[in-house]
Amino acid sequence: MSLQYGETLFEHFRRPRNYGALVAPDVAYEDVNPLCGDRIRMELRVDASQTITAVRFRGDSCIISRAAASILTELIQGCTLQQVADLPKERLLTALGTEVRPARLKCALLPLHVLQTGIAAAHTSHDPQPFHPC
């Protein structure tokens, strides 16, 4: 595999941070890019003030999507759910440290989409969303 997307991205792909699962997460959501098949699940634990205390992700996804998820989990440490809900996509794209071609933006932004949709869903339900049928 080439390093056309930069060392940071490739390094996060090979050694993703916060990969795995949480026991009884407060927010859990999963989604898929319906054509390419990237599928990511994000899980959060928050304290009483809705501040994130733990985050995990997992899934089968491409280099960009997996690295973006890994980088995102580092970006949101200590943030509140509201801050994550308001996180602009440009913030994540900048953190990737490389320019992502327009055709691959969906890959890069899938983790953020999953997280923000999961937070929105958690606001309307007390139960974590175990699976989001497409």
Binding site: M1, E30, V32, P34, L35, G37, D38, R39, R41, R58, G59, D60, S61, C62, S65, R66, F131, P133, C134
Partner: protein
């Protein structure tokens, strides 16, 4: 539908109809035979036939004739059929040989065989294996004992010592997945018992629900594989595209595969042509005893995937199990032809086939 699957299905239909049949089972072969021990045929009242114990010709005709006698007498019997050269030629045998066929009457008022077969089928459906033991001689000829791979027994061959000793011998055959007649010492004499071993159907796990997978499922079902299709995309892994798949599993593919039984009867075929599935799934299945692992892709792509796995510490010996490019070289280019080449390789690996044309192999008696 495979003969064995058809057999179980027909058996289920038989009992409510209260129809009487003779079940003929090939229990012993000497010399070369086109069918293996365990091949079955039944002859029903009214002349209906299902299955065969040879590949046809005079031998099957003799079995049919004798089966009709058994239907009339309602007692089991063991018949020996010596194949003369002429018959051997007709059957496609290269050498003359001897076949033994056990004929037994089945009817709704003799419930034990039905109960044994029903229990066996239920056990096989759960992915396990079992053996049905049939006593071939003596006054208790036809007595049955079901031995499941979890050690469960049902029925009796007519003597506790015979049951114990037969099960001990059957256990070994069960492990080797071989059906055979064994001679069991019992009370100073020898009793012949046919051990009919049934393994669960081989399972094919197909990762990636594209066009190749569609052709694979269709062919694999014909070959009696149990087929699971795995993908993360519901639009691809849909029932409309895979009406024949036994399981259609949508989610995180590597996590789904971890939930599936990976046994020596399992083949894993990666046809998503996507490293995001290939890498995590290979990491997992390479530590399992599946008999076949194949991955769609060029040699170059395969090397790239294997390199990443090697860097992750996967042993060279394990990496050699991955067949990439996948399939036998049949020369076909269409999607169904690619699927055929893949399944040809799966079947060849399963049975230890040489993949050489039979016409190019040595002739004469084995």
């Amino acid at each position: 539908m495979s003969p064995m699957r058809a057999f179980f299905q027909q058996l289920e239909q038989l009992r409510p109809l209260n129809q009487r049949v003779t079940l003929a089972t090939l229990v012993n072969t000497q010399g070369m035979s086109p069918r293996k021990e365990g091949a079955k045929m039944w002859v029903a009242e009214g002349g209906q036939l299902l299955g065969s114990v040879t590949i046809g010709g005079c031998v099957d005709a003799q079995v049919i004739e004798q089966s009709e006698d058994v239907l009339t007498r309602q007692t089991p019997c063991l018949i020996e059929l010596s194949l003369g050269d002429e018959e051997a030629w007709e059957l496609g045998l290269t050498c003359a040989g001897t076949l033994e066929v056990f004929l037994e009457p089945l009817s709704a008022d003799r419930s034990e065989p039905f109960a044994c077969y029903a229990a066996l089928k239920s056990h096989l459906d759960s992915g396990a294996s079992g053996a049905l033991l049939t006593r071939l001689d003596g006054t208790a000829a036809g007595a049955k004992l079901l031995l499941l791979d979890d050690g469960t027994r049902r029925g009796s061959l007519g003597d506790p010592v015979l049951d114990h000793e037969s099960c001990r011998m059957a256990q070994s055959l069960l492990e080797q997945t071989i059906s055979r007649t064994v001679s069991v010492p019992c009370a100073g004499e020898t009793v012949r018992v046919f051990v009919d071993v049934h393994a669960p159907p081989a399972t094919l796990i197909i990762v990636g629900a594209g066009d190749v997978a569609m052709s694979l499922v269709h062919l694999a079902r014909t070959l009696d594989f149990r087929v699971a299709v795995v993908d993360s995309r519901p639009r691809f892994a849909s029932r409309a595209r895979f009406p024949e798949a036994d399981d259609l599993l949508v989610g995180i593919p590597s996590e789904i595969v971890k939930t599936l039984p990976l046994t020596p009867c399992t083949a894993v075929i990666l046809v998503a042509h996507d490293y995001k599935y290939d890498l995590p799934i290979l990491r997992h299945v390479l530590s399992s005893p599946v008999h076949y692992i194949g991955m769609l892709g060029s040699r170059r792509r395969g090397e790239a995937i294997l390199k990443l796995l090697r860097e992750d510490g996967v042993a060279e010996e394990s990496l050699r199990r991955v067949r990439v490019p996948i399939g036998l070289e049949l020369g076909g280019q269409s999607v169904p032809e690619i699927a055929l080449a893949i399944l040809a390789e799966v079947v060849s690996v399963r049975y230890g086939g040489s993949t050489l044309p039979l016409s190019r192999q040595g002739r004469g008696c084995a």
